[in-house]
Assembly symmetry: C2
């Protein structure tokens, strides 16, 4: 049973998110159905992590076990799978990995991009693909606030509850390291890049939404820093919308 | 009755084109309905020209006569109209023009952009927005072929029939001047820019589709040049798809 690691891009707008859910169309369901049609048997795929409804991916990774009987070459897998997928999901590459490799548990880091567009009128070509915030915040203050996140912190105030949190988590359960949280400005577009060793549920959107409060003058840098130093306080209420978020890269140890 | 000139952008994918057609949704219908809701009376708008189904616009222009009773300022017009339009059509600006100004007859030039993407796998974020041609043509040959179009020529072999052509047209009826037909390369993206004093029905797509035949080695530069020198021959059969085409700018004499 060769294990295959696929990299795919998707426009999150038409989907309820990565994960299968009853009664709605997920990215995972769509890809599993396409692979199932190729292999003529049902399959389950395992991704590097979920993405929420409306969240996009430039390079999500997932693995699947192909039966020994499958005679498709790596090159043919990409073309065959794309032929069975809608154009809003595209496979960019595939490689064979060790049988014990796991797309989620072997990931050592991830990179996310978050886009804010400041144009007064949002281009029709950007709808559903950026957070449109035409005014009322300071980009330099946003960039400075993002720097507060860099480093190893207990980020639990920037993690939404999924409902399956342990009652008595180990001390390092909410610790994450953010290597980079940069803001690039390109005309009206603000591009935030987050690189870290892992991100919790909705964490990037909560980081952006809360930094945006600082950029609006509704919170100080000190108050933001205190949310990391005192992790037992209330969770942030500021979640940036899904449509500006892109999973950009998943890192694996080689 | 002040006459207002609007500039708008639209994603052409969901529409049957600019012009009203029975039973399908056009950009024109959608804008007329939105203005009608603001003015509380039916209106007709006149654009710089039509765009086909699937063709996009960064800056289409149209005019409309507002009743004297209308008390909206220019600034409020943009916000009010955008509030009544779907997000795939956006008004970017408006100005008052002379009562005899006409968005179509006063246009002295237009600029179109045509996008070809050569990536092996097309990004889901580009679907419906480029012509995807992953291989089989030479970009330098395409750039050279485009230069053949520059100048004043009888372009009738690059005009699709609309069915309303005059039986005995004046000598200059099919004459157009192309000031610029340039190709820019940006990674996998080829961006063609056409600036001319006017373009006939489907002309840009026919120019691109035919130049692409040269870039594929199916036609020589000399054969292409002969199509301009001998305008009475058969029309070209090579029409590039609508989704790569953008009306970029309409020029008016000041």
């Amino acid at each position: 049973m060769p294990r295959l690691l696929f990299t795919c891009a998707y426009d999150g707008q038409p989907y309820c998110g990565w994960q299968s859910q009853r009664g709605v169309q997920s990215v995972q369901d769509t890809i599993e159905a396409a692979i199932g049609r190729i292999l003529k048997e049902p399959v389950r795929i395992a991704a590097s992590g979920r993405t929420d409804a409306g969240v996009h991916a430039h390079a999500q990774c997932f693995h699947v076990d192909a039966p020994e009987s499958c005679r498709l070459s790596m090159d043919n897998w990409v073309a065959a799978l794309n032929a069975h997928l809608p154009a809003d999901i595209r496979i960019s590459c595939v490689q064979e990995v060790a049988p014990h490799f796991h797309a989620r548990f072997d990931a050592v880091g991830k990179e996310y991009e978050y886009l804010i567009c400041r144009a007064g009128v949002l281009s029709p070509f950007l709808r559903g693909r950026v957070w449109h915030v035409p005014h009322g915040f300071d980009a330099d203050a946003l960039a400075a606030a993002l720097q507060i996140y860099v480093g190893t912190h207990d980020f639990r105030r920037f993690a939404a509850n999924r409902g399956n949190e342990p009652a008595d988590p180990p001390l390092d359960f909410y610790l994450r390291t953010i290597y980079r949280a940069d803001l690039e400005t390109d005309g009206d577009m603000l591009r935030m890049l987050f690189h870290g060793n892992g991100f919790m549920y909705r964490m990037v959107r909560l980081l952006v939404g809360t930094a945006h409060q600082v950029a609006r003058g509704r919170m100080t840098d000190e108050e933001l820093a205190a949310m990391l130093k005192n992790p037992l306080g209330a969770k942030t209420r500021y979640c940036a919308p899904a449509e500006g978020l892109y999973l950009k890269q998943v890192f694996y140890a080689r």
